[in-house]
């Protein structure tokens, strides 16, 4: 690991100033950053430790009914908050389907949003990677790429964003509160992550010094609690990243879907909101035909970036399955194997 300076600022403003310097990065739990530093993938000159800052570890309901989650709340504390899990069950299930219990105890909300791709070529410093070394090329493009993107990719980068948490969050219109050199601002989570274009080295719209201080769920996000699921296909049942995942959330009144939310994970460089699919689920009955149509719409623009055409069909099926499970109703308790399609389910046949 390359040597670095360590600073522990006493305030958010001081942290922003310290991290705005070239070569500086924020340190929260470090569960992804330290791994990247050990491998020489990330080589910061200065770590700005934000873990001791006050006021960033609260979960609070605001006057208008939104929920504000401090950036330093751990993934485990959020998922195990009973009120949170009742109100946003798909988000809790997504959190518990990610990483391991040890990592969830350490990893933070803000860090989860800003974790880097797990593309093996990004991690291997002997490989060419435009995200790690702009302009060097992309060895994933002709390499082992069955896990790579099928939406939003370009010739310069076919990496995916690995977060589970972000998938239901983006479906529920989460907002990200950012403190930067110009003061406080907000960005919709859907606008936080960037598609690669020809600058895949920039994962997000954040500028130097920008610190995520909170994630907010708007009041309407609670309206989906009765019909919400997150489903995740992995290459092993636990402690693995998504091959494909889907968050489905429905508002059902008198047997009709009045509003649907759908997002996909593991398919693109950002959590992928499927608005065209949501549109066809407005004011229709929750039927298999409607869900098939939605799945088709969600993947209309998908194309393989390598040996991963199977992910497009897999994503369609997981969308149908997630919508079917959501329509059947949120389970009273998060299943023993969170988000697993192999968990015992009621009333849902394989699509």
């Amino acid at each position: 690991m390359k040597p670095f300076d360590y600073v522990r600022p006493a305030s958010v403003a001081a942290a922003v100033a310290a991290a705005a310097q070239p070569g500086a990065v924020f340190l929260a739990a470090g569960t992804n950053l330290l791994d990247l530093m050990k491998g020489g993938v990330s080589r910061p000159d200065r770590l700005v430790d934000v873990t001791h800052l006050d006021g960033l570890d609260q979960i609070e309901t605001l006057g208008d009914g939104s929920l504000r989650i401090g950036a330093l709340v751990s993934n485990a504390d959020l998922a195990h908050d009973a009120e949170f899990a009742r109100s946003y069950p798909a988000v809790a299930e997504a959190l518990l389907s990610g990483a391991s219990a040890q990592l969830r105890n350490a990893a933070t909300v803000g860090g989860n949003l800003l974790q880097r791709t797990r593309c093996a070529y990004f991690y291997d410093t002997a490989s060419r990677c435009n995200k790690r070394e702009p302009g060097s090329g992309c060895d994933a493009r002709d390499g082992e790429n069955r896990g790579h993107a099928v939406l939003g990719w370009t010739e310069s980068c076919i990496a995916t964003h690995p977060s589970d948490f972000c998938v239901p969050l983006v479906a529920l219109d989460a907002m990200v509160e950012i403190e930067g050199r110009g003061g406080r601002r907000e960005v919709a989570l859907d606008q936080l992550h960037r598609l690669p274009g020809d600058t895949p080295e920039r994962d997000s719209v954040l500028e130097p010094g920008d610190l995520i201080v909170a994630v907010r769920l708007p009041p309407a996000a609670r309206g989906f609690a009765a019909h919400a699921r997150y489903l995740k296909v992995r290459e092993r049942t636990s402690y693995a990243f998504a091959v494909v995942s889907a968050a489905a959330a429905l508002r059902i009144e008198s047997g009709m879907i009045v509003e649907a939310r759908l997002a996909l994970g593991g398919v693109a460089a950002k959590p992928w909101r499927a608005r065209a699919a949501e549109d066809v689920l407005k004011n229709v009955s929750p039927t298999a035909d409607a869900f098939q149509e939605a799945a088709w719409r969600a993947l209309t623009d998908a194309k393989p970036s390598g040996d991963n055409a199977f992910k497009i069909e897999l994503a369609r099926r997981i969308v149908v399955r997630a919508l079917t499970l959501a329509a059947a109703g949120t389970p009273a308790r998060i299943p023993a194997l969170p988000a697993s399609p192999f968990a015992a389910t009621s009333g849902a046949d394989h699509a």
């Binding site: 569960t31 330290l34 391991s100 219990a101 105890n105 350490a106 194997l337």
Partner: protein
């Protein structure tokens, strides 16, 4: 630049001067305190052999910078027995053959103790397997590990019932 930190390790306060901020909690425990029960397996947060409790919660000590944990209360495998009296989880691992080579065992035991404190799995074997998935065992002693955790969970439930009765 030197940085001073203090930790409570297995109940005792320890002060350190770090001449390099790169030191992880894992390396600090092993190299500075010679508490070598906590194992370095992958050193990348994938195997769980380095699991310790920090402020009561299990984490991977290989992915935690010591300097960032100034003031933390740390429990390692060396701190769970009372003298010669093994922790119930330790005893259960012996009773149920919850290991073969033993390399992953300290991490498995610390993870199981942390899991019981989290109280999410209860005595459901499927939930125990899921909640222990951050600890790999290359020998494949998983069946014995799950039996050991179930047994220890049962004993600790009983003793807490006795205490409250």
């Amino acid at each position: 630049m030197n940085h001073s930190i203090s930790l409570t390790v297995n109940g005792a306060r320890r002060d350190f001067v770090l001449d390099d901020p790169r030191v992880t909690l894992l390396d600090l425990l092993r190299e500075r305190l010679h508490l070598t029960g906590t194992k370095k397996g992958c050193d990348r947060g994938q195997c769980g052999a380095c699991t310790i409790l920090v402020d009561g919660k299990r984490i991977n000590s290989c992915l935690a910078l010591a300097i960032s944990h100034d003031g933390a209360d740390i429990l390692t495998i060396e701190g769970v027995a009372r003298g010669d009296q093994l922790h119930p989880v330790q005893a259960a691992f012996i009773a149920h053959d919850g290991f073969q080579c033993g390399f992953c065992t300290p991490g498995q035991i610390m993870s199981a103790i942390g899991m019981m404190q989290e109280a999410q799995a209860g005595n459901d074997p499927e939930r125990i397997r899921e909640c222990m998935s951050g600890n790999l065992c290359r020998c494949g002693a998983y069946a014995g590990i799950v039996d050991a955790v179930l047994d220890a969970q049962g004993q600790m439930d009983e003793s807490s019932q006795r205490r409250s009765a």
